[in-house]
């Protein structure tokens, strides 16, 4: 999926966070966005993930304008074409590993048998097939992030948005999870926007950008 962002602006009362962000991303490309805390990395990611509305500017996915979509249409787009990985994992404690992974398929209303096969495949590739029926509350931090990664990739999204995906993990686990994230995304041909403040994480990306004063720069 090609992503094209032009002139993206977002401000809160008394605070301008994004002031004309431009970004283009090719399918399968991994871009790391670095920046200090409070520079607007998460806000940019939320705008790209259609969770938040920019004040102005344009976001195009495969040439299709997606800013200003109705909430229901945006939700469908999120479920089918976008994937999210968060620092805090954000797994659902009432559900098992497989059920968490299947959640985007349920949200999109797609065929569950096919999604189950895909989930089993992803869990196999991330080494979690033995924990498929376990409750997510019994998993370690690394395992939880892998589950979150499987959930994000279930629907073969064109764009994967990762917000500090290794922020809560130790360096060794973080490296493993990051390797898996990049390799799985590239296998599926997904473009990846990786938000981090860690230079070692950013170093894994094809391209590194820095968010400074509300704008992205090389």
């Amino acid at each position: 999926m090609r992503l094209a962002v032009t002139g993206l602006c977002k401000s809160y009362p008394g605070l301008t966070v994004l002031s004309g962000v431009d970004l283009s991303l090719a399918a399968g490309e991994v871009v790391a966005i670095r920046g200090a805390s409070g520079t607007g990395k998460s806000t940019l990611l939320h705008c790209l993930g259609l969770l938040d509305r920019p004040d102005s500017g344009s976001i195009r996915l495969d040439g299709e304008e997606v800013t200003g979509l109705k909430p229901g249409v945006a939700a469908t787009l999120r479920a089918k074409r976008l994937g999210f990985v968060f620092q805090a994992f954000h797994l659902l404690p009432e559900f098992s590993v497989t059920e968490n992974v299947l959640m985007p398929a349920r949200a999109a209303g797609t065929s569950l048998p096919a999604a189950r096969a895909r989930a089993a495949e992803l869990l196999q590739r991330t080494g979690l097939s033995g924990r498929a029926t376990a409750s997510v509350t019994t998993l370690s931090g690394g395992e939880r992030q892998r589950v979150a990664l499987c959930r994000a990739l279930l629907m073969k999204p064109g764009l994967l948005l990762a917000d500090e995906p290794t922020g809560n993990l130790d360096p060794v686990t973080a490296g493993t999870v990051l390797d898996e994230l990049v390799s799985l995304a590239k296998q599926d041909g997904a473009a990846v926007v990786l938000v981090t403040h860690d230079p070692t994480v950013a170093a894994r990306a094809d391209r590194r950008l820095e968010l400074l004063g509300g704008r992205l720069c090389e």
Binding site: H90, M103, R106, R151
Partner: protein, 450 residues
């Protein structure tokens, strides 16, 4: 599908949700028990009233009077396709006197009674005087033993009359013919007294009593049998006697200025007959007033129906109290799951699916709780009288409604109605928390979790 999945999971895994479930169980079980007894009481009363009253009654007016019992009138009634049987009757208050003095007080018993003079066979044909109501043992005085069969009569047939008829039959069979009996040998007529009238007063089966009608005429009779209709007010005052005797006591027997008169004619109709319509048609055909059982004796059933409906309204109000519990539980649930809801919205779940999940959980709690309440209510209803007997605690003192046992009804419409009310009320209570859940902003919750 996602709403069902989420809703049922939240309901199963959250302890607070079980509180809503328990509240619904209680607010369905309690009305099922209360209304089961009330409905049972209504059904018993209605059944007893119907057993003592014919479908239709041809009478001079709703309050009494008399009508001429003519072949033309009977033929007009019998010609109607819905009419199955016609039985004449005479009904009036009278004075009952007895010289029995069991306690030696020297006082002569004189009490009012309600005469119901009937043609025995015609009344039996019309469906009244069911065998189960005759020779009934007393209820209000449990210390009085039932009278053995050989000591009591059968209907109006006293033991003396039985012997008299037997002797006459033997005379006929021997070819001698019926010898004219000496005047004093002819037995007195028999009457059937209400069981509570008999056992509540110093009168026994076989005793001679005197009945004096409002005309001043009187007649000595023998108490030959008892009848228990199931309605205390009837069984305390009723005296059944032969039709011709009743006519004589009330000066309706055709002597003097009167033709053969009766208070009215009881009419039995085919099952499922539209009584109001048939009454109107018979009125047109005969020119006489024709009343339905509901018009004559429906007041008690009507008043009980009103009481039942008021009680049902109170029970609905009790169910409305459950609104607050269900609302509190689901508000707490939404607050607890705020973060998860944000995540789900972030994953692409639509807001209406989120609302649907809580509505499904609410509906499942109400329906599941309602069904459990139904089962619990019926179990309590089923065990009410055995438990009452076991602990020797009369639930309904017999001097109040004539039976020590609670009348119960297992009409499924009662629990179904209260489950429906609980479900509607529960869904209304869940609607606001569900709407609030859809207002959650995923960006806010995702930032909070970071």
């Amino acid at each position: 599908m996602l709403s069902l999945h989420l809703g049922l999971r939240y309901l199963r895994r959250r302890r607070a949700a079980w509180l809503a479930f328990a509240a619904v169980v209680c607010t369905v079980a309690v009305p099922v028990v209360v209304m089961g007894v009330m409905q049972g009481w209504l059904e018993v009363t209605s059944r007893q009233t119907r057993a003592n009253e014919s479908d239709l009654t041809v009478a001079d007016s709703w309050y009494g009077g008399s009508v001429a019992d003519t072949p033309r009138l009977r033929a007009a009634l019998a010609a109607h396709p819905q009419v199955r049987a016609v039985a004449p009757f005479v009904s009036a208050y009278a004075l009952l006197e007895s010289s029995n003095d069991r306690q030696g007080s020297g006082r002569r018993l004189a009490i009012p009674c309600l005469l119901d003079a009937v043609h025995w066979e015609a009344d039996r044909a019309a469906g009244r005087l069911a065998p189960a109501t005759l020779h009934a043992p007393p209820v209000t005085d449990l210390n009085s033993p039932p009278v053995p069969a050989k000591q009591r009569g059968t209907g109006f047939l006293t033991p003396a009359w039985r012997d008299h008829l037997c002797l006459s039959g033997l005379g006929l069979m021997s070819g001698l013919g019926v010898l004219p009996p000496p005047p004093r040998l002819r037995p007195l007529p028999g009457v059937v007294a209400g069981r509570e009238l008999l056992y509540g007063n110093p009168i026994s089966l076989g005793d001679q009593i005197r009945l004096t009608g409002v005309t001043g005429r009187n007649q000595n009779v023998i108490v030959s049998d008892t009848i228990g209709t199931g309605i205390l007010e009837t069984d305390r005052f009723l005296v059944l006697l032969p039709l011709d005797l009743g006519q004589r006591l009330l000066d309706l027997d055709g002597r003097g200025r009167h033709s053969e008169m009766v208070t009215g004619l009881r009419v039995t109709t085919a099952p499922g007959t539209d009584l109001n319509r048939t009454a109107h048609e018979l009125n047109l055909a005969t020119g006489e007033t024709v009343l339905t059982w509901w018009q004559r004796r429906g007041q008690l059933v009507k008043s009980l129906t009103i009481q039942r409906n008021i009680l049902g309204l109170v029970m609905i109000l009790v169910q409305v109290v459950a609104v607050f519990i269900v609302y509190a539980v689901f508000s707490t649930l939404v607050a607890e799951k705020r973060h998860d809801i944000g995540v789900l919205l972030g994953l692409g779940v639509r807001r209406r699916q989120i609302a649907g999940a809580f509505l499904v959980a609410g509906a499942a709690a109400c329906l599941g709780g309602g069904l459990c309440g139904w089962v619990l209510g019926w179990l309590v209803l089923w065990g009410l009288n055995p438990a009452s007997r076991f602990f020797n605690i009369p639930l309904f003192p017999q001097d109040v409604i004539y039976t020590p046992e609670a009348p119960t009804s297992f009409d499924p419409l009662v629990p179904l109605f209260f489950i429906a009310v609980a479900t509607v009320v529960g869904l209304l209570a869940v609607a606001l928390p569900a709407w609030r859940a859809t207002r959650i902003q995923p960006v806010d919750t995702l930032r909070e979790g970071a």
